[in-house]
Amino acid sequence: MSQQILDLVEQTSLKTEVPEFEIGDTVDVHTKILEGDKERIQVFTGVVIARSGSGSREMFTVRRIVNNEGVERKFPLHSPRIAKVEVKRSGVVRRAKLYFLRDRVGKAVRLKERRRDASK
C-alpha cells in the first residue's frame, strides 16, 4: 500500500520519455546550466559505465579521459536539467558495471563497437 503511494508521488517527477542508452554506450549528455539569468547547454561526452537506483532516484555514471586523467560524472536520469542524452557509439559489453575501465589506461580503455541495428 505505502509503496504504491510512494510510486505515485515519484511518478510526477519521472520523465515521460526516458533517454534511451545502454551500458557501454558513448554518449553526449546535454546539461542545462544557469549562468546568472542565462541558460546554457553544456555537453559532457563519455562512456556510460553504470546505472544505479530506481524510480526518481535513478542515476547514471559517465566516464571520460581528460588530460590523461579519468573523470566521472554522475547524472540523475530524470532530472529536468538533463536536456537530452545522445548515443554516439555503442560498445560491446558483458556486464552492467564497467568499473574495470578505471584500472585501464590508453588504448585498453576502448570498447569494441557494436552495430546499433544488431542490438535492436
Binding site: 505505502s2 510512494l6 505515485l8 508521488v9 524510480g55 540523475p76 529536468p80
Partner: protein, 233 residues
Amino acid sequence: MSQPAPAVGILGRKIGMTQIYDESGKVVPVTVVHAGPCDVLQVRTAEKDGYEAVQIGYLDKPRRLASRSERGHVAKLDSKRSKSRTAAGVELSAKAGCEPKRFIREIRGTAGDLAPGSQITVEAFAEVPAVDIVATSKGRGFSGAMKRHNFSGQRATHGVKKCHRHLGGTGCSAYPSRLFKGVRMPGQYGNARTTVRNQKVVRVDAENNLILVLGGIPGPKGGFVVVKQTNKV
C-alpha cells in the same frame, strides 16, 4: 497567547520518504504523509471547556473493536435512560454521526465554521507554507550514552579496559557526594512524543490525500502523525 488562531490541523500516517524535482530542477527530499479526510468529532469552546480546540478523528475503527463509549462519542446511541433523560430536558452534545475513529486528537484553535460532522481534508493546507508535525519517535529501547546523547565514548586502545562505549565521569567527588539531577546517562531512547517544527510543505495532493513535507519527520513508516500549521514565526 494573544488572539486564538483558527485551528488548522489534520491527522495522518507517515508513508515514507522519496525525492522529487522542483520547478528549477533541484532534487527535493520529501516525506509523504497520507492525511485525512478527518471527521470533526467535537468542538471545545472557552465557555464550556475553558479552551478552544477542535477534536478530529482519522481512520475508521471497526465497530466490533470500539467500546460503547467510543461508539456513543461519534453517534447517538439508544439507551435505557435516553427517554427519561430527554424528558428531563438533558440536551445531548452534537454528534458527528460517523464511524468510531482509530486515531483521535485535538487541534488547538478556534473552530471557525467547523462543527461536529464536518470533514477536514488536505485542501486546508493548500495555502499553508510550513507545518509542525507531532509523532512518536522510533523506539530504540534502553540505549547507552553514546547512542542516546552522542557522547564520544572512550579510546579503543591506550589502556582502556572494557569500557570503550562508557559514558565517563558523571560528577565530582567528596563535594557534593551525590549526583546532580539531569546528568545525561543511558536509558530509554525513542518511543516518545516528538515534534518537528517549521517543516516546509512542498506539495498538497488533494486527489490522493497526500501532503509532501520537506525533510524527515519522526516515527516509523505507518506511524500516526499530527500535522498542524506551524506556530513558529
